[in-house]
Symmetry: C2
């Protein structure tokens, strides 16, 4: 044996026992850490490597006790459908004129708006398609001034931290032309705030979890339909994603654990002195490719 001048401590003397124990502890620690970082996709896919570009949208545990799974929707006979029968006079061109007139605004008038109009716009949003017809959306409409104030307090406190500490400097630079900062007057000025929650899962009649496939895409599509409805009704809005405010707002509104805030829209008429950035939209040849 090569002679080396190492301290003949207890650790060195009993290394045959200490080394395996140390390795086991190390192994367990890293195994746990890796498991925590495991993507939902890995849990779903039992064979065939996926390509890392898409996701299953589900973190479903396999239940080995179940021989046959029952669908969340009731099975029923399909019915004939003759295609769209209620359309827009003027078709696509007329529709384009309407939505091209929409602008996101940050300054609202306090002019009152009948609640029925908001309700009808949300009914329109609720016609959105969704993964396996799960309809994974909840629209929370706030008109109570004291709750709007609380929403504003939550968001402004977080946004102050976002703008000053959390967001990358490139991000805050990119927002400069839009004149945004952590002060959000529209949260108390606008007659309505619509908070749109995505239900990341639902519940079966027996209380078990129901999968909501592609819930973020579904709820965002519903948001797009809502924007069209609001414009059709002559109302303006702003799509906001209050970074890091979701849990506090969910608590404020007593929403359940399966709901996560997707977007918040102040809704109303533009104020007298409303100004918007002088933005241009991309010409169609920059967004459309034909094959």
């Amino acid at each position: 044996m090569i002679q080396i001048n190492i301290n003949q401590s207890l650790i060195v003397q009993h290394w045959e026992y200490i080394l395996p124990i140390f390795l086991v502890i190390l192994g367990v620690f890293y195994f746990k850490k890796l498991k925590a970082f495991k993507s939902p996709r890995e849990e779903n896919v039992k064979s065939n490597k996926l390509d890392g570009e898409e996701y299953v949208g589900a973190d479903y545990k396999d239940d080995e006790d179940i021989d046959e799974y029952t669908p969340a929707l009731e099975e029923s006979e399909h019915i004939p459908f003759k295609g769209a029968s209620i359309t827009l006079p003027g078709g696509a061109e007329a529709f384009y004129e309407i939505v091209n007139n929409r602008r996101s605004i940050r300054s609202f008038s306090n002019k009152t708006i009948p609640f029925e109009i908001i309700e009808t716009c949300i009914k329109a949003a609720g016609t959105s398609p969704s993964g396996a017809h799960t309809e994974p959306w909840t629209f929370c409409v706030i008109s109570d001034p004291s709750i709007k104030t609380q929403v504003r307090e939550i968001i402004e406190a977080e946004e102050y931290l976002n703008y000053t500490q959390r967001m990358h400097r490139q991000w805050t630079a990119d927002l400069k032309p839009l004149h945004t900062d952590h002060i959000k007057e529209y949260l108390t000025e606008a007659p309505y705030l619509i908070l749109i929650f995505k239900q990341i899962y639902g519940f079966k009649p027996n209380g078990g979890r129901k999968q909501h496939y592609y819930n973020e895409i579904s709820v965002s599509i519903a948001t797009g339909i809502l924007l069209c409805a609001l414009q059709a009704a002559g109302l303006s809005s702003l799509v906001t994603t209050p970074l890091n405010c979701g849990p506090a707002l969910r608590n404020l509104l007593n929403r359940p654990q399966n709901e996560k805030l997707l977007v918040l829209l102040p809704v109303g008429y533009a104020s007298e002195d409303c100004k918007v950035p002088n933005l241009k939209r991309k010409p169609v040849e920059d967004i459309l490719v034909t094959y």
Copy 2:
């Protein structure tokens, strides 16, 4: 020293050298693995623990050399905006009637549709709001039958694996009432396929990467507006998310690396014998909560 009968092999004799080398290799291996699983949020947030519910939507590398970041949009004076001036006669109620008439269909007639209608619908989708006005969408419209056939081949091959091996049995059960399987006749039947790509980042004039904040939400909102436009024009469609087909379809269409397939929509008129599942939509009181 306690005497134990262990093999006096080279490894045991030279453990003082072998152990540290082994530990270094182990450490490097796990460090790499952990880094690969690091969430985008971690790279962005320099202080303040986020709550795990939201994401920054960016995996931007900090650039220590840059003192001042310039915004991606040009800064210009804001202009007065008087609110929505082009709206729908009949307002929210009339809009609801139109979109409530929309159904997703899987059986298309081969009746031709002027390309200009599709183009106008995509112009409408392009009016969607987007994070920091990045407009992170590309709409690929396929009318060439041979390309539609290639799209169908790619998707049916993957969907066969999805249905038989990759998707959880609960998922395939949930899809049963919708009568879907891996055979997708609509991909060659429909006169148009619209593949909507999200641009996960863009490019600055100097060639550097431009951040596309919340690009998935933005492009999904644009998809919602597109659905409304198609319905306004009397056209039907189906929002599909071809699991695991994104890269092959991106290659087929020669789209760049920064574009990821979000959804694929066959578009056209319903066939004579088109049938749809007898689905009901949730009543408004199940999706709307007031405060």
